[in-house]
């Protein structure tokens, strides 16, 4: 028997009204996210990925189609958005404060466990400016995990980092997500990031965006799978080339009248 998906987007479309006219941003976004799955939405820059995330998290209402969701959502952004006047500990607890859970023993223990497990406990009384980019991004993820969301939405979480840090941080974040067994949707424009991170990849077209192809990623790596190991898998290049060609073709389509 098939389990109910945690998050499903059914033929979602979105148009925005401006003074100059109507902009069709999303045409047909359909996909499902099942318990424990890590999926990626892979699309060219400016195809409306942030709009999709805003619709999935309920910040925006779609103009067509529907979103069904059976769990709470945790959002992780491109930049860490740590508040520089708060210590790392107080930053991590801000979600709990907002949901009036900052006195809940259970949640505070969870925060402590997360900080200890992911090497930030010794830095809990430091301020964000005293931490490296990688540590800040880890703190941002712990802030999201502290309120115990069922689904994680990652909005290009590595693109603000330099290429060195990027590999390390994505390794870190992947480890945390696997360890915490979080259902995750990654939104990115980076092909290798999507392949190295996700079990399922949905490629998106240019604006107005629709889901074009679904790839199930099967790589021969030793367990547990990590982004770095995935990048070394023999099938990696094959996936990369196939997706690359598909996206290039899409570029040609969109430039010819």
């Amino acid at each position: 028997m098939k389990t109910e998906p945690l998050l499903a987007s059914n033929h979602v479309s979105m148009r925005f009204f401006h003074q100059e006219g109507v902009v069709e941003v999303l045409e047909d976004i359909t996909f499902e996210l099942e318990q424990g799955e890590i999926a990626a939405l892979l699309g060219p820059s400016g195809c409306g990925k942030s709009t999709i995330l805003n619709i999935l998290s309920g910040l925006l209402q779609p103009t067509g189609g529907s979103v069904s969701r059976t769990g709470s959502i945790g959002y992780m952004f491109q930049r860490d958005h740590l508040l520089e006047w708060r210590t790392i500990y107080d930053n991590v607890c801000i979600g709990l404060e907002i949901q009036k859970l900052q006195k809940s023993e259970e949640h505070l223990q969870k925060v402590e466990r997360l900080l200890r497990t992911y090497d930030l406990w010794d830095f809990r009384n430091r301020y964000p400016t005293e931490l490296s980019g990688g540590m800040r991004q880890r703190a941002a993820l712990i802030r999201t995990l502290a309120v115990d969301p069922d689904i994680l939405l990652l909005d290009e979480p590595f693109s603000a980092l330099d290429s060195q840090t990027r590999l390390i941080v994505s390794e870190d974040i992947a480890r945390i997500i696997q360890h915490e067994e979080k259902t995750t949707l990654l939104v990115t424009h980076d092909i290798s990031e999507a392949i190295s991170f996700a079990d399922t990849i949905y490629t998106l077209s240019h604006r107005p965006a629709k889901v074009k192809t679904t790839y199930r990623v099967n790589l021969t790596t030793e367990e547990p799978r990590t982004p770095l190991k995935s990048r070394k898998a023999p099938e990696f290049q094959q996936y990369f080339n196939t997706i690359w060609e598909e996206m290039m073709q899409d570029d040609d389509d969109s430039t010819t009248p």
């Binding site: 998290s57 910040l59 959502i73 945790g74 959002y75 952004f77 491109q78 930049r79 958005h81 508040l83 006047w85 801000i94 979600g95 404060e97 907002i98 949901q99 400016t129 005293e130 931490l131 490296s132 309120v147």
Partner: protein, 270 residues
């Protein structure tokens, strides 16, 4: 990760640098005092030698003489006290109401769109032009003068604070919203703390603006205060009185500024 400089207490190079630094500071201070003293001496000399007309320019010794009179009969404290009090009250009303109104504008963006042109015009208008009207409305007394001070500083407070509130990163707001934050929580946990330093510098500007407002108000109507001393002195052509008023005003402005700096340091430390 950032590295912080480690203090080397006994490093000779550091000691030499400190000594050099201290010497420079002392030299600047000495030069400042010398400059002031020689200017005053020149003024006094010019007055005694009749190079300048003391009826128009007065002289340092005459200013000291009249100060002694006011000081000995104690009336100087009443004048200083009333001006300072008016400035303080105007400052608190102007700053708190201004920031409060800015919060309302931030809370209801519709409100800010409606009031925007009015605020812009009011801000561009030289507020001293409103002073006579304000005095008529609020009465020729303490209330009227405080109202003039408030009218001078409140519009710029509203506009600056609102602009500061709006400049907070929209993604940070989205981050809080993703946890389900209410508007009040966004205000308390993000907008206000993110603008603490901006509001402190607003307060600093407001103190100066309020003093301007109070002096303008006192010029117009009062029976006491430093502004009254200055305008009264000029009406009866007692330039020593006018000059004394200006000097006292300078000292008051300096004290107010120091108080604000003290407050700033206190807040930033905690």
């Amino acid at each position: 990760m950032t590295t912080t400089a480690q203090p080397h207490e006994h490093s000779p190079a550091h000691l030499a640098w400190l000594e050099q630094h201290r010497r420079e500071k002392r030299q600047i201070r000495i030069t400042q005092v010398l400059l002031l003293v020689s200017l005053l001496a020149l003024w006094e000399l010019a007055a005694r030698m009749k190079w300048i007309d003391t009826f128009l320019f007065s002289s340092p010794s005459a200013i000291v003489d009249i100060f002694r009179v006011y000081f000995l009969n104690g009336t100087i404290w009443a004048h200083i006290g009333i001006t300072m009090w008016e400035t303080f009250v105007g400052f608190f009303i102007g700053t708190f109401c201004g920031i409060g109104i800015a919060i309302l504008l931030w809370w209801w963006p519709m409100l800010s769109r409606i009031f925007d042109p009015f605020l812009v015009v009011l801000n561009a208008l030289p507020k001293t032009a409103l002073a006579p009207i304000v005095i008529v409305w609020f009465g020729a007394g303490l209330t009227g003068i405080i109202a003039v001070a408030v009218s001078i500083c409140i519009v710029v407070t509203i506009l600056s604070a609102y602009t500061d509130f709006r400049s907070v990163d929209a993604d940070k707001i989205r981050m809080l919203e993703s946890f389900g934050a209410t508007r009040a929580q966004i205000l308390r946990k993000l907008i206000l703390p993110a603008n603490r330093d901006n509001m402190l510098s607003l307060a600093k500007i407001n103190m100066g603006l309020c003093l301007i407002g109070v002096i303008v108000g006192e010029f117009l109507v009062s029976r006491s205060g430093i502004g009254y001393l200055i305008v009264y002195g000029s009406q009866v052509f007692r330039l020593d009185l006018v000059m004394m008023g200006v000097v006292i005003l300078a000292v008051c402005a300096w004290i107010l500024n120091s108080l604000i700096n003290l407050l700033e340091r206190h807040i930033k430390k905690s």
